[in-house]
């Protein structure tokens, strides 16, 4: 693993940049979810937000499977880097999803799919920052890598707040650097980043979201209370809120509300989770 300082001195030559043009756009990755997206726009940062048990990780598996499956099976045949910060990643579940989606699933084909997946575990925010620093060389040497997944970004929140002492700046400083690095990576190499953040804060009664909440009031949206550092809030392009339907008849359904932050447009989708993963209704 190259040292982080080495990465600062490595700038890919223009020829290499030309190879990076071929990275997939959001619309190709999940056409149903991003139907309104401009397919010529490559790259971006999306945040999945929601309480536990609302399908965020399942959606990540769905997107991962879509990317690593071969083109003949409806996938994109591109590489995915999955950064797991709280030992949440379940390989068995991903393999089950792959096996259900492959028309002829054999150990060989599954292995070949998994060969396109890179999994990294991080146990502290400093380790996360160092990992991100060393990612640049990896992204350059793997032109097929176009999807970054970070599950989850808020795993170190309380630990960082205590380690930073009384100064809020110190508390947030590592995550701020991570956000800046991620933005640099994503914009330079046209990657797509999906990061999950957990709803760990209760909504306070006098919290006001802003004018958009009044025009499109939805339950998931209204519960949102941003708690991560401002640097992160600023780099997110799309925020997707996950929630579970509480209605008895539709008790196995999940819903997500996708908000494009610049245009402030909201879209709602409903999905269920089956053996082969996420299925949109």
């Amino acid at each position: 693993m190259p040292l982080p300082w080495l990465c600062q001195h490595f700038h890919p030559p223009p020829l290499l940049l030309a190879r990076l043009e071929g990275r997939s756009s959001l619309k190709e990755i999940e056409p149903y979810l991003f139907a309104d997206e401009d397919s010529s726009v490559h790259g971006g940062i999306l945040e999945f937000h929601g309480p536990e048990g609302t399908g965020k990780t399942e959606m990540l598996y769905h997107l991962t499977a879509r990317c690593i499956l071969p083109k003949s099976e409806g996938g994109l045949e591109v590489e995915v880097l999955f950064i797991d910060t709280d030992y949440h990643f379940d390989m068995l579940r991903l393999v089950t999803i792959l096996e259900h989606r492959l028309s002829q699933s054999s150990e060989e084909t599954v292995k070949r799919c998994l060969g396109r997946l890179f999994l990294v575990n991080c146990t502290s925010s400093t380790q996360l920052l160092l990992t991100l620093c060393s990612l640049e060389t990896m992204v350059c040497s793997h032109p097929a890598l176009c999807l970054l997944i970070l599950d989850s970004l808020s795993a170190f929140y309380w630990t960082d707040r205590v380690n930073g002492g009384e100064s809020v700046n110190l508390q947030e400083c590592t995550l701020k650097k991570c956000a800046q690095f991620l933005e640099k990576l994503v914009s330079e190499y046209r990657l797509v980043l999906f990061a999950t953040t957990q709803s760990i804060m209760q909504k306070t009664s006098n919290w006001t979201e802003g004018p958009s909440a009044f025009t499109h009031p939805t339950e998931a949206d209204a519960d949102y209370r941003p708690y991560l550092c401002k640097a992160w809030q600023q780099v997110v392009k799309h925020r997707i809120f996950f929630s579970k339907q509480v209605d008895f008849k539709t008790s196995n359904q999940f819903s997500l509300v996708s908000r494009h932050l610049k245009s402030n447009s909201l879209k709602k989708h409903i999905f269920i989770i089956g053996e082969s993963g996420v299925e949109f209704c």
Binding site: E52, G53, W158, N163, M201
Partner: protein, 279 residues
């Protein structure tokens, strides 16, 4: 830090913990005519999984400790593996485990052998618990290098007893300590290939009136699987019936419920009068 996953075969994440007739995970309907099933396992999709943290949540008297004792007894006797039981409640006594073992085998040497495989540690505050988990890591690495069998299950009864005194107010330190404990448990499960079972209390949700696990939102993300135990309202004469509901799972749809008899840890006794109450 980076693992390239090329070879999947022989993953150590999966172990079937209980000696059961095999149940296909797609058949979730409760079968009234199969008395030999240990029904809690149908809930857990043929057993607890190593590499994961499973939470058993329930109110007082709902049977959490009994479930933990059954898990310990089953792993020690049925699977012949070592168990570490971390007690922060004082609910564990050797006589209770002995009763469960006596129900499984009349042979005294087997009962004694199983009891020896259960290592009991007491931890009454969070720092003691973190120490215990650290010590366990150290022992396991020694055992692995010396070739002797390491524990395959760690039961923590209960995690609420050591964490809830830290929560409340604006204290960040309490939450950070709780997340440190969570990280220790998950790392233990994943790195050492151990099945971790923790128990938690429940509180009533202000808005919906439903039961939800205690320790707040941050903790709710920690276990991969959660089972909620509740006393069956229409219990009637039998006081040992509980309703177990799967409320979180990485591989099964949630909402699946089973009636469990925690006295014998099997399906409730079939009687003509009570058949109408069954799911």
């Amino acid at each position: 830090m980076e693992n390239r996953l090329v070879c999947l075969g022989g993953t150590s994440c999966l172990s079937s913990w209980f000696l059961l007739p095999s149940v296909p995970s797609s058949s979730l309907s409760y079968s009234l005519s199969s008395p030999s099933f240990i029904s809690l396992d149908k809930l857990l999709d043929a057993g607890l999984y190593t590499g994961e943290v499973t939470e058993i949540a329930g109110g007082p008297g709902s049977g959490k400790t009994q479930v933990c004792l059954c898990v310990a007894a089953n792993v020690a006797y049925g699977l012949q593996q070592n168990v570490v039981y971390i007690d922060s409640n004082g609910g564990l006594t050797a006589s209770r485990i002995l009763q469960l073992l006596q129900a499984r085998t009349p042979a005294e040497e087997e009962q004694a052998g199983a009891l020896q495989r259960i290592q009991v540690v007491r931890a009454f505050d969070i720092f003691q618990m973190l120490d215990v988990l650290q010590d366990f890591r150290g022992t396991v690495s020694q055992q692995v290098s010396s070739g002797s069998a390491a524990a395959k299950a760690v039961v923590v009864d209960s995690v609420t007893a050591v964490v809830s005194p830290l929560l409340g107010g604006q204290q960040r330190e309490g939450l950070a300590l709780m997340m440190q404990l969570a990280r220790e448990l998950k790392t233990l499960a994943r790195d050492l290939g151990v099945a971790v079972v923790v128990t938690n209390h429940v509180i009533r949700d202000r808005d919906s009136g439903d039961l939800k696990p205690a320790l707040g939102r941050s903790w709710s993300f920690v276990p991969s699987t959660r089972i909620l135990l509740d006393v069956d309202e229409g219990a009637g004469a039998s006081g040992s019936r509980r309703r177990a509901c799967l409320t979180k799972s990485p591989r099964l749809p949630t909402g699946f419920q089973e009636m469990v008899d925690i006295g014998t840890w099997g399906p409730p006794e079939q009687s003509p009068a009570s058949q109408g109450d069954q799911i």
